[in-house]
């Protein structure tokens, strides 16, 4: 397809769309596996952290 100079300029000036800007594709199965591993590592970090028995969860959260 031939483009005029004006069309080329418009294309160059056009904002990037979501699909254009993200290097694609990543492998969804691998991403899910990596996300699970990340969460397990995070949980492992927290498990190692000693918390006194009377430290109740911050559920009734007020600043």
């Amino acid at each position: 397809m031939l483009l005029t100079r004006r069309e080329l300029a418009a294309l160059a000036a056009a904002p990037l769309t979501a699909q254009e800007a993200a290097p694609q594709p990543e492998n969804p199965a691998e991403e899910l596996k990596a996300a699970g591993e990340r969460l397990r590592r995070t949980a492992g970090t927290l498990t190692k952290y000693a918390v006194p028995m009377d430290a109740a969860p911050a559920f009734s959260f007020k600043a």
Partner: protein, 476 residues
């Protein structure tokens, strides 16, 4: 009346309000000028989600009518603004930046928008955002149905997230102020990247009714403006108790810089390592200078150190667990796969598998963090750090690889103040403090709960001495 000139686009709310009252132009004229600009330039930065022209002109006419009758409500009366597309606006699309919600319509307004309408501020448009405010974690700036937020200072750079459109729109003079939201970094990052002044209020000070939930225990809504003083005026209007938000603190903010102790009596904590090692080299010179400016204001500057906690792990796990619970129907329906960012899709799915014991552990450590920060603030009134690790990233850069290659600072300093402050619900003010490679850099001030007046008083004094918040992106 004089014609609305280009000078209005980068004026502060305070200045525009004075000119409206002096009848230099009407709210309708001002609103039409901003609507045209937002419609024309918003798409250039992928900042515009929805223009609400007819509604805005109606609101502007109402404001004009009141001003004409001498019924003056406050500085926001007749001033246009934009709102992150995470806030519902009755009978119009509210997309949350995510393709699965592209057709979503609510039949009520978010409390924040109701309050702004009562103050006769004029909503001109909904502004783009990272899909689902980044719940699940995202790798690319393009994680939005609107495309990546492009930075007015350099459109090859990101405007930050998740309040991307709010940051771009204020920086490019498309709105005088915008509303953003933060769970962890979503007001401060785009404010810093775009060179605007952003305020993350204390948890519970601003109602979240009608806003998309990402983390019930961490979400906050706040203003993104041209100055600290403007942030104060917007916060004054949007704060206040709301029985429709279970997290509401039932408190209202009143702007009263006169009630803040003299600056010479305020103790500001900082860590040299944050400014000389943690931040990327390009951002160091102006960030270090900002400490001198703060010192020059008479503030007592003292070295500080955050208590040792796994802040990022705690914040990340809580947001992942709550975010995945919020979006469980989306995940279970399979529509989550329509999101733009693979990492985010995976993060949301994986978050459903978080064990109860791990969430509880995170929330228990959070309790300790709150207690220890309370103790830290006995010795300090305010803590200051660079707002981000460096200036805006390239649009195509993988966001989770930003710190790769950077040496670990010798001290942890206050570098995890972003996670810590959000976990403890503390207010933060982002102040532009200079430039690196032609891009804005900023500092953040963090204070005790409900100490917004202290932050704003320091911010206002800082901005009386500097003009970074008044600079315009080139070519805009």
């Amino acid at each position: 009346m004089a014609k609305v000139g280009d000078g209005v686009f980068f004026a502060t709310v305070v200045e525009l309000s004075a000119r409206l009252r002096a009848k230099e132009f009407s709210s309708e004229e001002l609103t039409r000028a901003f609507l045209d600009r937002l419609e024309k330039l918003g798409p250039r930065y992928n900042a515009l989600a929805l223009l609400v022209r007819d509604r805005a002109i109606g609101q502007a006419k109402d404001a004009d009518d009141e001003i004409k009758r001498g019924l003056l409500r406050g500085p926001l009366q007749g001033i246009p603004f934009g709102a992150k597309d995470l806030l519902s606006l009755a009978r119009l699309p509210t997309t949350w930046g995510a393709r699965p919600y592209a057709q979503q319509v609510f039949d009520y307004d978010a409390s924040v928008l109701t309050r702004l309408a009562r103050a006769r501020a004029v909503l001109t448009g909904k502004l783009s955002m990272v899909e689902l405010a980044g719940g699940g974690g995202y790798r690319y700036a393009a994680a939005s149905m609107f495309g990546p937020g492009l930075n007015p200072w350099d459109p090859t750079r990101w405007s930050g997230g998740s309040s991307s459109g709010s940051g771009s729109a204020v920086a490019a003079g498309l709105v005088p102020f915008a509303i953003g939201s933060e769970t962890w970094g979503s007001i401060l990052t785009p404010s810093a990247y775009c060179g605007v002044t952003g305020l993350r209020p204390t948890y519970g000070l601003v109602s979240r009714y009608g806003a998309m939930a990402l983390s019930w225990t961490m979400d906050k809504i706040g203003p993104m403006c041209r100055s600290a003083e403007d942030c104060a005026h917007v916060l004054r209007v949007i704060s206040g108790g709301d029985s429709k938000d279970p997290g509401s603190a039932g408190k209202t903010f009143y702007y009263g810089p006169q009630y803040v102790p003299a600056l010479k009596d305020l103790r500001v904590g900082f860590a040299t390592s944050d400014f000389e090692e943690w931040i990327e080299p390009a951002g160091r010179p102006d960030s270090v200078k900002s400490l001198e400016i703060l010192r020059g204001l008479g503030l007592q500057m003292k070295e500080a150190l955050l208590p040792e906690f796994p802040y990022s792990a705690v914040a990340g796990l809580i947001i992942d667990a709550e975010g995945s619970a919020v979006f469980e129907p989306l995940i279970e329906s399979g529509q989550v796969d329509e999101l733009a960012d693979q990492k985010q899709i995976a993060g949301l799915k994986a978050g459903l598998e978080i064990r109860v014991k791990d969430y509880l552990k995170a929330m228990r450590i959070r309790r300790l963090i709150q207690q220890e920060l309370r103790k830290l603030f006995i010795g300090f009134d305010v803590l200051v750090t660079p707002a981000t690790r460096g200036p805006a990233t390239q649009i195509t850069q993988a966001l989770d690889r930003r710190s790769a290659g950077l040496a670990k600072p010798r001290s942890r300093g206050l570098s995890e103040l972003g996670a810590a402050g959000n976990l403890a619900g503390l207010p933060a003010l982002c102040l532009p403090c200079g430039f690196a490679e032609g891009l804005p850099v900023a500092i953040q001030l963090v204070g005790r709960p409900f100490a917004e007046n202290t932050l704003l008083a320091i911010g206002h004094a800082f901005q009386q001495r500097t003009d970074f918040h008044r600079r315009k992106p080139p070519g805009v």
